[in-house]
Symmetry: C2
Subunit: 282 residues, 2 copies
């Protein structure tokens, strides 16, 4: 997805929010704002927003010397999600369409997102998303692909949400590779978070190599690219990965909630819509 | 009031919003964002926020060639407020404390503010503010000063709100000078808007000389400064004027709703609080 003008104030808001989590020093927060302000004129609007995010979060790391500002927040979200895990497991077991319920719960987990300027209440959001109609619903193609696939390449998004991803991976019951970011960026899942979330028990965990808050192919390592290019069933979670992968040539199923207006418009759905969208299906 | 770090993302958001109202040309909107981004590093944090706003709105005028982007919006707000005027006049007449009800209505009018990133519903807001407790309530001093004063210097804020100001001016029943901005900035009241609002029938209308979305003394003209320095009863409406005048040496009564967290913190009240605050009362 290209960068829209609306993304620019959002970059500034996000940088301010993250800088304040990364440091208590107002001079450093100001330095982050100065630096992001300077970047605006050279943002390549044809690039995806997380490519610019990559530069911004790099600057925040340099200025604040804090390389994982969301570390404690991620831990808390994983604990909260793990507490809900048995209840959600049971809910899937008792539902009439277990795969679909697991997909809905995996999308509900996607509300745990520090990169979006909205508060969330995970219990309320799960309850809502369990009943919500999909705005885009390529479920038949998803099921068909899932049945045929020998393995799954599952591209994760946020820590906490990752616990809910376990439930969908268990439900699909295929050999799965779970993909995380290379370094801490926002509250996105890295290898340690994936292990804490229990993903080591249900999948092989690899880094995409991307340091951006998204999977950006030209930032990814060869191992990931090889697996991506040869995968027969790719699941991509969340907005960041959609921004990074919406124009690729591979068959990808995006599971996400459209939490910002720009992404909702790009998908031609309403804000807060839930989406199961397959691309390059033929 | 000094500029807080929180004001910086807000400047960018405001500039983006105003640029989009001023022009349909995305290149011009981008040029506004580039320009505001460049400004960030040189914002004097010891200055008041509307002094920076003054530079930003000047840039928006230069880049978009639109010198009054809120013209139609202001007209619509004045019409809407005028429609409510007889009902509100009656409401004051039937209330047990007519001056206080007129003050509450003048504050309710202050929600008509395009410079704050919140939606408003004027009818709902009036109903709420008529029942809301004041977080700061220097009403006795206000009444006392009002009774003693030979005349009132009433510093207006937004167009639309200006119709509600008529009601308070009528209620006080003193010779009144109503002060407006020198040129269109945001949806702030200028001379034409004040006349449209009916203020010419209840007061003398003057420009402060300020081109900022606030009364900034070092931007004001000599006529206003002379009147300000010799006034025996000054009323200042809204956030912008509070930001500009909160540190002056004169006795001033501020009537406002604290619509943003920064101003709420500066006043030591909660967001959305209503305030009748006198300064330099002794």
């Amino acid at each position: 997805m290209k960068t829209y003008l609306e993304c620019i104030p959002c970059f500034v808001n996000q940088a301010f929010k993250t800088a304040n989590i990364a440091t208590n020093d107002p001079d450093k927060v100001k330095a982050v704002l100065d630096s992001v302000g300077d970047m605006i004129k050279s943002i390549p609007m044809e690039n995806t927003p997380p490519e610019t995010g990559n530069h911004i979060y790099q600057k925040i790391r340099e200025i604040t010397s804090n390389h994982d500002p969301y570390k404690e927040i991620k831990k808390a979200h994983i604990q909260e999600a793990k507490y809900l895990y048995p209840k959600l497991k049971n809910l899937i077991k008792e539902s009439s369409d277990q795969l679909l319920t697991a997909i809905r719960i995996a999308i509900a987990g996607n509300v745990i997102d520090m990169g979006v300027d909205k508060d969330f209440n995970i219990i309320n959001d799960i309850q809502k998303i369990l009943k919500q109609d999909f705005a885009i619903f390529d479920y038949e193609a998803f099921k068909d692909q899932c049945n045929k696939a020998k393995s799954v390449l599952y591209i994760g998004d946020n820590a906490g949400e990752s616990v809910f991803d376990c439930l969908l991976i268990e439900e699909m019951s295929k050999p799965t590779v779970f993909v995380v970011r290379d370094i801490p960026v926002l509250n996105d899942c890295i290898i340690d978070d994936a292990i804490d979330s229990g993903l080591g028990e249900v999948s092989e965990i690899i880094s995409s190599g991307s340091t951006a808050p998204a999977t950006i192919l030209n930032l990814c390592n060869d191992d990931f690219l090889n697996r991506f290019n040869s995968a027969d069933f790719i699941i991509s979670k969340g907005q960041g990965n959609y921004e990074g992968l919406s124009k690729v040539d591979q068959k990808v199923f995006f599971l996400l909630k459209a939490k910002c207006k720009v992404i909702a418009n790009d998908l031609n759905v309403k804000e807060d819509a839930i989406v199961l969208k397959g691309i390059n299906l033929n």
